[in-house]
């Protein structure tokens, strides 16, 4: 289920998770500092920058070698009855066809985005922005621009907007295992689908 408080939504049955996140105070006044994507929120950034770009067959960009972004279905069959198959989103589009309802055309869509890192430690900068929840994101295939509307961070709400190449260049490191983000409702062509999302703590400079 989706819980929304003050315009910020999570996909969870636990409203306390959202209430706790919304209580995080604003402690930074600038938005031009390194950003530490916590609580799995980097999965949303890479859902847009890698996943949607793959759906649109966007031109390749040079992602860090320590990064992997995979679509790992958690169901046996997709919405056209084919066996669900995983995909390496950094090199290929998702392999599952999904549709919101019987009235909709099946589209090649992500199912469960899992971001992993291998040997990419980083030092936590003293001056930084910690991102905890995002309100939404978008990828524009025409301009190759990724937009993330951050809902809860140490700098308050703000909008992160960069080209995919800039996002790739700014990824400076990651720590730990993938943390499940509390849900992404992904909208494409007007069809809203829940997409699982998980990512380690990650930093963009």
């Amino acid at each position: 289920m989706t819980i929304t408080i003050g315009g910020v939504s999570i996909v969870s049955r636990d409203g306390a998770v959202l209430r706790r996140a919304l209580e995080i105070p604003k402690s930074v006044d600038r938005t031009d500092l390194p950003i530490v994507w916590r609580d799995g929120s980097a999965a949303v950034l890479l859902h847009e920058a890698v996943g949607h770009a793959a759906e649109h067959d966007a031109a390749p960009v040079k992602w860090p070698s320590w990064l992997s972004v995979d679509d790992i279905p958690r169901f046996a069959f997709d919405d056209v009855g084919n066996a669900a198959k995983g995909a390496d989103l950094m090199t290929e589009p998702p392999r599952c066809m999904r549709r919101e309802s019987f009235r909709d055309v099946p589209l090649r869509r992500m199912t469960n985005v899992v971001v992993r890192q291998t040997g990419a430690p980083f030092a936590l900068p003293a001056k930084r922005i910690d991102v905890h929840l995002v309100a939404g994101g978008a990828y524009d295939p025409l301009t190759d621009v990724v937009t993330i509307h951050v809902a809860v961070s140490s700098a308050g709400a703000f909008t992160f907007r960069r080209t995919r190449a800039e996002v790739a260049k700014s990824l400076a490191g990651a720590k730990g295992v993938a943390i499940a983000y509390p849900g992404v409702i992904c909208s494409r062509e007007g069809q809203e689908l829940a997409v699982g999302s998980a990512a380690p703590v990650m930093i963009t400079e």
Partner: protein
């Protein structure tokens, strides 16, 4: 209150024609809104939406949705039938995207927009005086509710029935409670909204020598419009903020923005 709908629609989307027949009940009692599908198909002859798409094969479209639907509604002892045509196309040229939404299959207007878009140059500041084409003005109207300048009147136009089968009343949208409801689907609880908006102004003389905003380049955000401006031979993208409206033309065309808006030329 029981609302019942039977409908049939043909839709062109991603190179396919989808024909959907659907019927359902919506029951609202003591604060509970419940919907369920019901048996029974509507017999209706639908347009060949694939033929419309084929006629647009020469324009560069990032997205094209074409639909024709027929629906029968019943609510509060009133029955009514409606027919809708919708066409959405996103035309592209370099990094620009022009958005066109129509309630008919008039393709000349789309071809004209595509030709103008293909001549677009670099971004420029908005000209001091500008006229909005009816399709651009219609998209703006829902955003003028409560903030329309004092020299214009934002009106709901009388005619037809609302989502509960009640007559749509003539009404000035000035912040007072709205008399009618919009029900885009039987599965959605009807919401109070102004329907079939139009803008009125005592001045209706439009200067046709000033630049024209011919198409939207992005969905309207509040009173900010990102538009494609045609100024004689020069065409460019620009961003404008609507702060005043000098004149509103008389000729109106209905567009499917929000719960409907009649677009007419507007001079800023």
């Amino acid at each position: 209150m029981i609302y019942r709908k039977r409908g049939r629609v043909a839709r062109w989307e991603h190179g396919r024609v989808i024909v959907v027949s659907e019927a359902g009940d919506a029951i609202e009692e003591r604060g509970i809104f419940e919907v369920r599908p019901i048996a029974g198909e509507l017999e209706a002859r639908l347009d060949d939406v694939a033929a419309v798409a084929k006629a647009l094969r020469n324009v560069k479209a990032e997205r094209l949705l074409i639909s024709h639907g027929v629906a029968e509604h019943e609510c509060n002892g009133v029955s009514w039938r409606e027919e809708t045509r919708r066409l959405h196309i996103a035309l592209t040229h370099k990094h620009l995207r022009a958005l066109v939404d129509r309630a008919d299959f008039d393709l000349d207007e789309i071809a004209r927009t595509a030709r103008v878009l293909a001549r677009a140059g670099a971004e420029r500041d908005a000209p001091p005086r500008l006229r909005l084409a009816p399709n651009v003005a219609a998209a703006l109207l829902p955003h003028l509710a409560g903030v329309a300048p004092p020299n214009v009147r934002l009106m709901q136009s009388a005619g037809g029935l609302d989502g509960n089968g009640a007559d749509i009343q003539e009404f000035c949208v000035d912040g007072a409670s709205l008399p009618n409801v919009f029900r885009p689907s039987y599965r959605i609880r009807p919401v109070r909204m102004p329907l079939n908006l139009r803008l009125e102004c005592d001045v209706d003389v439009i200067d046709r020598d000033i630049p024209e905003a011919v198409a939207l380049l992005a969905p309207v955000a509040g009173l900010m419009l990102r538009v494609l401006v045609a100024d004689r031979q020069r065409v460019y993208p620009s961003t404008i903020r609507v702060t005043r409206i000098d004149a509103v033309g008389h000729e109106r065309t209905w567009y499917p923005y929000a719960a409907g808006a009649f677009g007419s030329e507007i001079m800023l």
